[in-house]
Symmetry: C2
Subunit: 231 residues, 2 copies
């Protein structure tokens, strides 16, 4: 078949995982142990195996490079995972033409247990605003992922994938504030969000802290859906 005429480029899958930690939006990166870009931070990624789908490869990268638990496979622990874009410039990898099918993931911080293991490439959460150089075109990939995050939050319910099962309205509001980088009005936020019908209140309250306890809410559905109205 064509293989004899056309020499395929190499194909990798790289994933941008976002999570919120310490009131900051962070990305999971590893440190490269081999050239090119040895010692630079990079997105966890792998070359596709024969007959492996890009999505499976993306998940495999999360397990083998970033030390995420196996359940990732079933989608249990990664709140959200979707294809982002395919980067295919001839010059993005000095080793030869390598296209990267990139993925975009959201994980609630409390379920992101990063396995620290000698065999892994020191996966760590990096704040987004710190400049610093990254391997390959990974900075560009992350900035595209950030744009995607912004727009997804505006017309879908995927915030659920950054929050634990139960959360307060303020924690929800805070998530938006961190990601969009601006303060929102508490009353307007509650009114609007409750009117979307995405969440329902539980009888539980967040207790044991020294203020008035807040009511806990949960999402009616934790499957991605488009909103009728914009958030």
């Amino acid at each position: 078949m064509k293989k004899t005429i056309y020499e395929s480029p190499y194909v990798t899958a790289d994933t941008v995982i976002f999570t919120i930690q310490d009131n900051e939006l962070k990305v999971l990166l590893i440190k490269r142990t081999n050239p090119p870009f040895k010692d630079y931070p990079a997105l966890p990624g792998v070359f596709l195996l024969k007959n492996e789908s890009a999505r499976d490869a993306a998940v495999r990268a999360l397990q083998t490079k970033a030390g995420l638990p196996r359940q990732v496979k079933a989608g249990v622990k990664v709140g959200y995972l979707e294809q982002l874009y395919t980067f295919d410039s001839r010059f993005r990898d000095p080793r030869g033409h390598t296209i990267s099918i990139t993925y975009f993931a959201l994980v609630p911080h409390d379920s992101l247990k990063i396995n620290q293991n000698k065999k892994l490439q020191s996966p760590k959460l990096y704040p987004l605003n710190k400049p610093g150089h990254l391997a390959f075109d990974h900075k560009e990939i992350i900035s595209l992922a950030l744009m995607r995050l912004h727009s997804k939050l505006q017309y879908t319910n995927v915030v659920y994938s950054l929050l634990p099962k139960y959360f307060t309205l303020f924690e929800l509001q805070n998530t938006y504030e961190i990601i969009f980088g601006k303060k929102l009005d508490k009353r307007n936020f509650r009114k609007k969000y409750l009117s979307l019908g995405l969440i329902k209140s539980t009888r539980m309250r967040r207790e044991g802290i020294r203020q008035r306890p807040a009511q806990l809410y949960e999402f009616r559905s934790r499957k991605p859906e488009a909103l009728k109205k914009f958030f």
Copy 2:
């Protein structure tokens, strides 16, 4: 390098070109001359050449399979071209694992001169609603492209790429009506569209038809931009 360990999948670029003809939204398809799926309609696509970018390959497919003129290269004649999605299922091509980086294009019908040539694979415009089987997963690709078209029209100015340089407000409105499949109110449409500031009126009018001549408008800019407000 990795090539010895990982066997790359084949890589193709396939393009969904939309245009409006006879008050209908249509896609440009070719008829396959070889198995698999011989004689089925398919998106124009090619295997990537060594070191060729996917976008260049997509354009090459338009030229060599669909007979579009050379200017396509410079982006002159294709109003709009963007990457759509990468389809990578192991099973989409019976010949072996073949990933397809798909593109999404909009062309004004009057600048789409389809070259009919024995060497080409009978490119034709197909109405979108006709069912009929397509090669590979191309039906799925087209339906994703259609969704993308709908959303792009709502938050960007890319309609310009379906219209000739000068057009009447009614022609513009009609384009939206065809794509969204519903009638719009003339007065509201004009008010809203003019308030977006994307178009400006010219002194010219559409003459020689048997009604009152309509004013011709043109886009201020024919570069893709996101709208501040939704359309």
